[in-house]
């Protein structure tokens, strides 16, 4: 047990609060990008995958680690690319268009 576990637990608890605070402020129009974006963030498991493959001693560990690296990469790369594609589409009204359409209306 000891201090290390306690330190991790501290990080865990504080992160829960910070995470909840930040996410409660996300407007519902951005909920799909939020899901996709947080999906990309848990792709950080790639870091863990690299570490276990890098430490692998047996063939079994190597096979499992290799699979983990592939899956982790799919998660992280796919997640960020999809999120970027979604957010790219959220545009404000082009400022030049608005006065024009008003003129037509007059």
């Amino acid at each position: 047990m000891g201090n290390v576990l306690l330190q991790y637990a501290t990080v865990l608890v504080l992160t829960i609060f910070v995470g909840t605070e930040i996410i409660a402020k996300v407007p519902s129009i951005l909920h799909t990008p939020l899901m996709s974006g947080s999906n990309a963030i848990h792709g950080v498991i790639l870091v863990g995958s690299i570490l276990i493959l890098g430490a692998a001693n047996t063939n079994l560990e190597m096979v499992l680690g290799f699979l983990a690296v592939i899956l982790g990469t799919l998660n992280v790369v796919g997640g960020f690319v999809v999120t970027d594609r979604m957010l790219e589409m959220f545009k404000a009204k082009p400022p030049t268009r608005k006065p024009k359409s008003d003129e037509v209306a007059e």
């Binding site: 995470g19 498991i45 890098g54 690319v81």
Partner: protein, 465 residues
Amino acid sequence: MSRETLIDLIYLVSATTFLFALKGLGSPKHARRGNMVAAAGMLLAVVATFFKYVDGHPLHHVLLILLGIFIGAIVAVPVARFVKMTAMPQLVAIFNGVGGGAAALVSITEFVHIKSTHPATYVVLEVLLGVLIGTVSFSGSSIAFAKLQELMTGRPITYPGQQIINGVVGVGALALIITILVTGSTVLLWILLALAFVLGIAFVLPIGGADVPVLISLLNAFTGLAVAASGFTLGSNLLIVAGTLVGASGILLTRLMSAAMGRSLSNVLFSAFGSNITASGATERDDGRSVRSGTPEDIGVLLSYASRVVIIPGYGLAVAQGQHVLRELAEVLEGKGIEVFYAIHPVAGRMPGHMNVLLAEANVPYEQLKEMDEANSELQTADVALVVGANDTVNPAAMDDKSSPIYGMPIIRADLAENVIFLKRSMRPGFAGIENELLYNPKTLLVFGDAKDTLTKVVATLKAS
């Protein structure tokens, strides 16, 4: 500064960029930049990891690691780039699933790796939780993907004694965890893996297509928690922070969505919603009442005399690929000095906020998208509510029919507007299979046909007049 300290500092920077990205999602303006910053932070963390020492030596198998990353990237980029926006929910589901799978694999491999050193009980517990949650997320997401991609039926799949069997499998998994904690057996670990796989499938099968978005949000949280568990095992603050952030956000979002449907989370997960409604609900009202139906020209006339129009889009709009014509219609109306905005129900589409993404893709400016509460307070003064491809989200039965399965779900009050125009393919009930009383309301004008065709004709009529 030692090498390890430097790497830990870099990890701290990465974790901060993740927070920055989530904070950026507070407004559409900063969201994209935030996402890019997080991607850069992720890249930094991955590169730094290559310089880490494990078990006192530099990383082995570096070429194999690079090969794995190469394979993953070469598959993920084209898929993510070219998939249609309507298919977004299943894509998020599958990317989430592989993340869960990776977390489970990391936990298993770490267990195999450290077993000979007789790790402390709490370390084994972390491993087992990572395996259980990660695997459930993997198999559950795969079934969710199959449902959304229509590789299998979207209806809930039920069989006698389902809840009991699922309960037994769940309890079995817990008993197995305790046994492994005591014995430290690797063989039992593989059995746990298999059991978790079955549990994920059994958990998702009875959940109907309409509820799958809530499920994906929950599975997203699961993967986050599995990643956090791996972080405990590997002793990585980065994994703990990132995993917990996702876990917290997923659970919060799941609860928000259940609330938006007026149901509790356990009702969403365990009630097999939508399995037996079509039989009872749709037929009993078939008493020959008449509806008022019209033509696209009638819509044109109604709209041109309005001063305020509220468009209520549903998933049917996206199926008909009518978003672009709809935006064109809104622009034509604005050109005539008519005020137009879109009322978006939180669960319109197949994912929370999905409709916003679909409309944004058609270049609808986000200022025109109004959330349910705001839209409802303005609908009282609207001349026309134009319902395109939506049904259950405007069904008044949710407010006044206690026997209705959707009773209690907050709806968009299309019925408050002076006139209601319903674009529908047929009289068939919507996704939840429930008859809509609003169709028979005297102020409702029904126009049958493909939404895209109808809207195109309306635009032509308006432009000609």
